[in-house]
């Protein structure tokens, strides 16, 4: 049973002692065993888990492991790429972040076969090690959502020709990408970002 208190608590406000409820999200325990709030929010007492939480009023743009993020490929090397994260779970981030995309495990092919600089990708956050984000596109449904031609900078379209799967209508270049299910679907991209009216 979760009991929510209507009161708003402020950082430092005493909530209970450790013997009553364990410290949950938005709380900390002082040296003398008092559980106090660390954020401005509403208090929730979870009587099943015997935990107290403070539901923050203004949620931070925290990225956690498992989040699906939208990013742009900024730098590319054979084994890794630098991704600028623009949005997560269907909304734009206020403060953009940088993540690393590593080559497919076990693959000898260069990452350039799967992504190119300027591509917009859907990726999943696989690990966060002291603030460093790692993302992966090596799962079904993830990959390039909008491919950019590395020759002329135009948006590429889907095509099936030999090993190639994208085509630049402007400079007629064929290329390969690791595509996501919605590649080239701008409506999908905009709705994912919450930009559809």
């Amino acid at each position: 049973m979760v009991e929510e208190k209507p009161q708003i608590v402020l950082p430092g406000e005493r909530l209970c002692v450790l013997e009553e409820f364990l410290s949950g999200k938005g709380t900390r325990v002082s040296a003398d065993g008092v559980v106090f709030a660390t954020v401005v929010g509403r208090v929730k007492f979870d009587r099943n888990k015997r935990e107290v939480h403070v539901e923050v009023i203004k949620e931070l743009d925290n990225i956690t492991v498992g989040d699906i993020v939208l990013g742009e490929v900024r730098e590319l090397q054979s084994k890794s790429a630098m991704i600028r994260i623009l949005g997560k779970n269907g909304r734009l981030l206020k403060h953009q972040r940088v993540a690393a995309l590593l080559a497919k495990p076990g693959s000898k092919e260069s990452l350039g076969h799967y992504v190119s600089v300027g591509d917009v990708i859907l990726a999943k956050v696989t690990s966060i090690i002291s603030g460093l984000l790692n993302v992966s596109i090596w799962e079904p449904g993830l990959g390039v959502i909008q491919a950019i031609c590395d020759n002329c900078g135009s948006t590429m379209t889907n095509v099936k020709k030999d090993k190639y799967n994208v085509y630049c209508p402007k400079c007629r270049k064929f290329d390969t990408r690791k595509m996501c299910a919605h590649h080239g679907n701008e409506k999908r991209l905009y709705s994912w970002l919450g930009l559809m009216t």
Binding site: Q7, V9, E13, R28, V39, K58, K94
Partner: protein
């Protein structure tokens, strides 16, 4: 015209120039979440002193080499607008502003859980739009509220006020003229629940007893400011902040 002779700061009835008693605060107005584009913001008005604070972040630290692998960096900029004083202040950061940015940053660092945001930066901007004494304490009060408004985890809020000594009397919250002609000025920043001192400076001379009296007076003023901080958050988020 600049006044050269020292005015009588406390009259026969123990009243100060603005009619306050020695232990009275100036009229206090606090608002939270007033700047739309920032992550958190606050406005503090203490008499004629008016200060805005805005918080941006946590975000990536720039330049990259400044990032710390196990915690966030807190950048603080205390700045007085050129029209905030009687005589136009020069543009840019003066030595005083650089020093106050540092003391405010150090006070805030002691309450913010920076280790929750490794390799990140939190930017705090304190902008004084009108100065009439006590700008650093009003700035610290506003900055702490803005951090809380941004949803950044903190050990406690900070409230700050200055105490001064004028005509041999210890007074709370000196105004600009009392600060100029007074014998001492002591800004104090504290966490209101645990009474931990996070900022203490002393300009001038005080005896041991006067210092003790001043600290007690500051503590009482800080409790009043803390109540106003709580009220401001209650007004903004529309619910009671009574003890759980």
């Amino acid at each position: 015209m600049t006044q050269t002779t020292k005015p009588k700061l406390i009259d026969e009835n123990g009243r100060r120039l603005d009619g306050r008693g020695p232990t009275d605060l100036r009229s206090l107005k606090i608002e939270v979440g007033i700047l739309e584009k920032s992550d958190g913001s606050a406005y503090v008005e203490l008499g004629k002193t008016k200060v805005y604070a805005a918080v941006y972040g946590p975000k990536e630290a720039h330049p990259k080499h400044l990032a710390i692998p196990d915690r966030a960096i807190l950048n603080c900029r205390y700045h007085m607008t050129s029209f905030s004083t009687d005589e136009r202040k020069i543009l840019g950061m003066t030595r005083r502003e650089v020093e106050l940015s540092k003391v405010i940053r150090e006070a805030l660092e002691s309450v913010v859980f920076l280790e929750e945001f490794p390799r990140s930066a939190i930017d705090v901007f304190v902008e004084v739009v009108q100065a009439d004494g006590g700008t650093r304490t009003a700035g610290l009060t506003a900055a702490s509220l803005a951090l809380a408004d941004a949803g950044i985890p903190m050990r406690e809020l900070i409230a700050a006020v200055a105490v001064g000594k004028v005509d041999g009397t210890i007074i709370l919250d000196p105004s600009d003229i009392e600060d100029k002609y007074g014998e001492a000025d002591m800004p104090v920043g504290m966490t209101p629940s645990s009474n931990t001192i996070v900022l203490l400076q002393l300009n001038g001379k005080m005896t041991k007893d006067e210092f003790k009296q001043g600290l007690e007076l500051a503590q009482a003023g800080i409790q009043k400011i803390y109540q106003a901080q709580r009220e401001a958050i209650r007004r903004k988020y529309g619910a009671s902040t009574t003890e759980v």
